[in-house]
């Protein structure tokens, strides 16, 4: 197609320090000013970002062999249970794992002060971590117990491998009941006292490539302050569009997700934060930024869509969500959500985000700088992910 750019051309420009890279926010202004055609000609890469709690996160660790050797079965890091049901000294620490002696929600709402997400943060912060392991003992792996301290630098490998991150659009939660509820979208006051939403709207990676034309297996990304890759689509990947009204009018992208991975040892603690969600649990707040190559006008157009044309469904988390009622009470634009209030059934409801927009912007700017200085080239996907047209 005339005017199409290739990954090779863009990467060549990046290596020569000649690539034009802008953040998704900057692209919006450019398209407003110059139109899609001219902007497509001028811009090579658009950077996006998001910084949000992402529960389906964790890390594969290879702890290293002891003498005598041990096939670790039950493993704890700082008292947080780690999955040991893989090879002898391989383990998986999940962000939502919580110590067995945590009060959980017995002391409602539970505080979940320390869990797997915090362990991952502490590992990346190079703190000493208390390791305990038990084994049943085998002829080749006779050792049965181990108690020691480790740091991220002591262990062989650590790979952040998150099965589901970077949700495209996400529910905005309200509470229609007369009692406060504590959810993974925060504390929701009774009778629609507040509305909590997530994602960074117009900066959010998957909202800017709704047809998955560029993001696929092998896309190189900003992950946790280091370099990571898209491994596959995330679990529960549901690309498509929010539909509304009797005509099923399309209202912006829906529920695409990504599975991402990267070497934990080169990530930064400020972009992988242990997170305690009151009454819900422990999780990990993950910084992700994805570059979108401006291969053609269509890609440029979708990357320049604004908050006013991106939407989130408003769902009742008081009791509707629990019962699988997914019909939105309202579909609200990010422009409305970010304004601080939305109107539902004539009631003005205060809104608040759980995703840091300022940090999302910092990620998009960092990624832009990495690319502009030639440090980060684009990874051409070896396979694109299922999109709305090829699920």
């Amino acid at each position: 197609m005339p005017g199409e750019k290739s990954y090779e051309e863009i990467n060549q420009k990046i290596k020569e320090g000649k690539a034009v890279v802008v953040t998704a926010e900057e692209l919006i202004s450019m398209v407003d000013e110059k139109g899609v055609t001219q902007t497509t000609q001028e811009v090579d890469v658009v950077t996006t970002g998001t910084f949000s709690p992402m529960c389906s996160s964790g890390a594969f660790l290879n702890i290293g062999h002891t003498i005598p050797k041990m096939k670790m079965n039950n493993i704890w890091l700082n008292d947080v249970p780690v999955y040991g049901g893989i090879a002898a000294v391989d383990a998986y620490i999940g962000a939502a794992s919580v110590p067995e002696n945590d009060p959980f929600n017995n002391n409602y709402p539970g505080e979940f002060k320390y869990g797997g997400g915090h362990v991952i943060h502490d590992l990346v912060a190079r703190k000493s971590i208390h390791l305990e392991a038990e084994a049943y003992g085998t002829d080749c792996y006779p050792r049965r117990e181990l108690e020691t301290t480790i740091t991220l630098d002591d262990i062989n490998e650590a790979t952040l491998f998150n099965p589901r991150n970077c949700y495209q659009s996400y529910n905005c939660a309200v509470n229609l009941t007369s009692e406060t509820v504590y959810t993974y979208l925060g504390m929701l006051k009774p009778n629609m006292g507040n509305a909590h939403y997530a994602t960074a709207g117009q900066l959010s990676p998957l909202l800017k490539d709704p047809y998955f034309k560029t993001i696929g297996v092998g896309t190189r990304i900003f992950l946790g302050g280091g370099i990571g890759y898209v491994a596959w689509n995330g679990t529960q990947h549901s690309p498509g569009f929010l539909l509304t009204g009797c005509n099923n009018e399309k209202k912006g992208p829906a529920g695409g997700t990504l599975s991402v991975l990267g070497d934990l040892k080169q990530m930064k603690p400020e972009w992988l934060l242990g997170t305690s969600v009151l009454g819900y649990g422990s999780t990990l707040t993950v910084g992700i930024g994805i570059p979108i190559p401006v291969l053609n006008e269509e890609i440029c157009y979708y990357a320049s869509v604004k908050d006013k044309d991106l939407y989130a469904p408003v769902i009742d988390y008081g009791e509707g969500y629990q019962k699988g009622k997914t019909d939105p009470i309202k579909i609200a634009s990010f422009a409305e959500l970010k304004s601080g209030k939305i109107t539902i059934n004539d009631k003005e409801v205060p809104t608040a985000p759980l995703t840091s927009y300022t940090k999302a912007k910092e990620i998009a700017v960092s990624l832009k700088e990495w690319i502009a200085c030639g440090k980060f080239t684009l990874g051409q996907p070896s396979q694109l992910l299922p999109g709305p047209d090829n699920r």
Partner: protein, 133 residues
């Protein structure tokens, strides 16, 4: 006799009840309202400076009415190193002390407006809001 500073927190069902009037008429207390956040059908907070012999009886009356009473001896501080400016606290804060500045979407904390209700301390996912004595 010295006055005492207290924080009252009450649910939306209490917002239209004239409890402060009864503190004056039935308990003969001298009340200076330092901060108030009262709206119909909304949970609210009051910070009072109270003086009077029947102080304890007055507080007992408030508690019987379902008002939660705390002494104002603490201060809430934001740990700037831990705060990521997400905004999760801003629709929870009852006094508007925590709010989002637009269009930057930065979270601001105006401690003059804070009524020390501890809600932000509980809900902050990053433990960035701290109680100082």
């Amino acid at each position: 006799m010295t006055s005492k500073r207290i924080v009252l927190r009450f649910d939306e069902s209490m917002a239209d009840k004239p409890v402060i009037s009864y503190l004056v008429s039935d308990y003969n207390l001298i009340i200076n309202i330092l901060k108030a956040n009262v709206s119909p059908q909304k949970e609210g907070t009051l910070v009072l400076d109270i003086l009077g012999e029947k102080y304890k009886e007055g507080l007992e009356y408030l508690k019987q009415q379902g008002v939660r009473v705390h002494a104002l001896t603490e201060e809430i501080i934001r740990n700037e190193d831990k705060c990521i400016n997400c905004g999760a606290c801003t629709a929870i804060c009852p006094s508007g002390a925590l709010y989002i500045e637009r269009p930057s979407m930065e979270v601001k904390f105006n401690s003059d407006e804070c009524v020390v209700c501890h809600q932000c301390v509980k809900v902050c996912p990053y433990k960035a809001m701290e109680v100082h004595f």
